[in-house]
Amino acid sequence: MKKEFDFAEVFGNIDDKLVEEAGKEWQRTRMQAFYLYRRRIAGAAAAIVFVILMAGSPRVQAAVKGIVTKIGQIWQVEKDLSPYAEIINKEQEKEGFTVTLHEVILADHKIYASVTIHTEEPEGLFVPGEFVTINGEKQKLSTYTDETPVYDGEWENAGSIEDKIEPDHVFMLEVKDLPEKITDIRLHFLAYKNAEDLLDEKNEIAFDFGFTVTSEELAWNTLKMSYDKTFPLGEGMELKIKDLVITPVDSRIEAEILGEKREAEYYLEGIDSLGNQVFYYPESRNGSRITFAGELSVGLPAIECDWMELRLYHYWAVSEEEQEPIDVVDGEEIMADLEGQLMNQVYLGEKFRLAVNRGEPEDYSDEPFDVEEWDNFVWKSEFTIQEVKELAAKGEEISDLDFSGYQLYENRWDDEQEAYVDEYEVEQGFRLLVIDNMVEEEKKGIHLVKDGEEGFLDLRHASAKEVEEFLKK
């Protein structure tokens, strides 16, 4: 006797944890440059002014797993930044302002400082000073910004900007010139009781916080690599990678696009050797030269990684006439949509790898990383027939193999298979398809197909004779 399975009813009984998780506010990750809200102030001429509310109780920080630094809490990132942070925890009280410097992270020429400000002054203001003192000497700041997340007016239930300013802040102070050896640093902040007080230096309420640091600690937080690598992008275009900087909180890639056919925006996306998703947006452009920037909240390589595998994507605005749908659902064409503007986005060229070398600190006993091996690494462009036969002989074990040494021909979503398919070239017009299918309990399917022919051979279950016959096609 048949019975109906009522999905609507049964789905109501899923695990409470699943329901509870989806009942919470959604924590977005920003995946596109358009959502960035950070502003850079060129030079020290412009001051950044922050309005602080009447003193109230400190914001209750969301309990996020793994956050042990104040900077991590304010940025709401799960990555543990404590290995890179100098813990300060000093408090000063002056003329109605209580300021606590929690910790600093030194990265390249930047100092990130987490600060909590409490005041009873209803119009109180708090800003970084225009310089820092390093080894007893004043060093002018080239940039200083407030890196505290703010509502951009589009978030649900957002009120005015003032309603959302919290006492906790992360300031970024960029120093133009750093001395070779650094022993101590003093940070300077200024508080004002109201906006009018800004006009007279006498009204400044100064807060200074000093701490010591070693050059080794500073160096350890910054990784710099130079390359002279060019990667083909197709259609006569090339991507030249020049320099890479990775810190625990940001990253930069200096690159050049050669042979560009049309004006477009680019971004880099990929993964590092530790499995971190990586995303670089185009921070600035000067002709064919592009500076790509990565941020912790969007996707950053770990400073400890051995390599990064990236792919370049380009996107451009299209007219409605030009646009093609990316999918059709229930008869409705689905267009790529970004911030209300019609965009096309396509990857260019193949994935490529950058070796990331990092010297080990003195107390490590591991062998040094072999840079030459990675510099000379060449991906195999295709499988040989013999290699395919050897794969088939392994049977089901081949699902667990890693094909990262081979150049990936194409990666796509297959509607019929309901799986992601990685395609590799095999000599003599064959292709190897690695099918990541959820129904198969995480066991990848490995199929051999021939160009222009129907049918496929399941290499996990084919006998040697079946393989031989298939290869004769």
Binding site: M1, K2, K3, F5, F7, I14, D15, V19, E21, E418
Partner: protein
Amino acid sequence: MEDTAIIDLFWERKEAAIEELSGKYSGYCYKIAWNLLMNHEDSEECLNDTWLSAWNYMPPKRPSRLAVFVGRITRGLAIDCFRKKHAAKRPDAHRADVCFEMDELSLSYTIEEQMAEKKLLEEIEKFLWKLPKADRDIFIRRYWYLDPICEIAKRHKASAGCIKTNLCRNRKKLFRILEQEVMGQ
């Protein structure tokens, strides 16, 4: 009032139990009912039936997550109410969509497979846990919380088309898994 204290009131059969429960969760439950019914009277009726059901269930039940417990009751009542009201005629856009989408995932199976429904629920949960977090959120917001597409799109800062595509693909994936389980392939 803490959930445990509210549950204690139900166990002690105190009248204040329903007052406390509705005071805390009426907005939450109303939203779930409204998402499907889009009618004030029907949604209010679901709410009242929810409090009555809670009174009948507790004791002996002592739910560990009271919000999910009452939300589940409201959801079930809303779906029943919707089906009764619209058995004969085609309802409007969002409500039709979410129910039709869920019906796509309904299957027939033989009564001999007594454990089938429990097994299917396990497969659904396994499927959900395997999904990327965003996909899982979208799926549950749509089919448990009955959110309209536009609200899910706003929540995820994505276009409605992206959300539709995402749901469509994951429904197809899940259907294949459920079908395999029922057909025993």
